[in-house]
Amino acid sequence: MIRFLERPMIVLQSAAGEAEEAIRESGRLLERAGAVRPSYTEAMVEAYLRLGPYFVVAPHIALPHARPEDGVVQAAVSLVQLREPVRFGHAANDPVRLVFGIAAASSPQHIELVRRLSALLADETRQKQLMEVKDVESVHRWIREGSAP
């Protein structure tokens, strides 16, 4: 089972002011849900410091993650919506507004997570809606609207 943006895994209007802090916050949400061990959060931060901000996959959207063996217990996705846009150092897609912490225990799970997330973030209108939501109910409505057949 995939723990997908459950209530305790969402922080809106985060005050995180730096990339590292925002990544760590998305990891803490995964930890708190029991989806990853603390080592996973540290591996996400370490990947950013070592390999750069390549996981800022679209304008204003970052998907930090690490490897399954870095401490995934259960597949999960968390969300940190940033109050102020934060620079991650990506030449084209800075600054970041949405940080999705991603934990997958296997490759097929990774595919499933990424497909779901890609479908929800299908276009700029949908992305903008999520950047501006003010409460978790609206996030869940946004998910339902994006999942409708």
């Binding site: 901000p53 390549y54 690490a66 990506h90 990774h110 595919i111 990424v114 890609s118």
Partner: protein, 98 residues
């Protein structure tokens, strides 16, 4: 034709790109093998075309080991950008063969 989508760890990010690249190739009616991989393995991999972010493209080029064409994609959710990158890379490889 072999296409390789490359990211830092070869896990999530290159996979997103791969899923969209496969969808766009289908739209275009182009047959190709698509794979995804981390940047440190990509240097030695056999591929005709590598798709990746600007930063990783720069480091692959600086590495000098890669013989494949390298195309940059900035927005991994933007199928039009991916399509444009694929079309121009395909045109380039046809020109080289001709």
């Amino acid at each position: 034709m072999n296409i390789l989508c490359v990211c830092g760890l070869g896990q999530g990010t290159s996979l997103i790109l791969r899923i969209h690249v496969e969808a766009v190739l289908k739209e275009m009616g182009v047959k190709a093998e698509v794979d995804h991989m981390d940047v440190s393995s990509a240097g030695g991999a056999a591929a005709d075309l590598i798709l990746t972010s600007r930063e990783l493209a720069d480091s692959l080029r600086a590495d000098g080991k890669v013989k494949a064409n390298i195309a940059v994609v900035n927005n991994y959710f933007d199928r039009q950008e991916i399509r444009a990158a694929l079309e121009s890379a395909l045109k380039r490889s046809t020109a080289e063969e001709g």
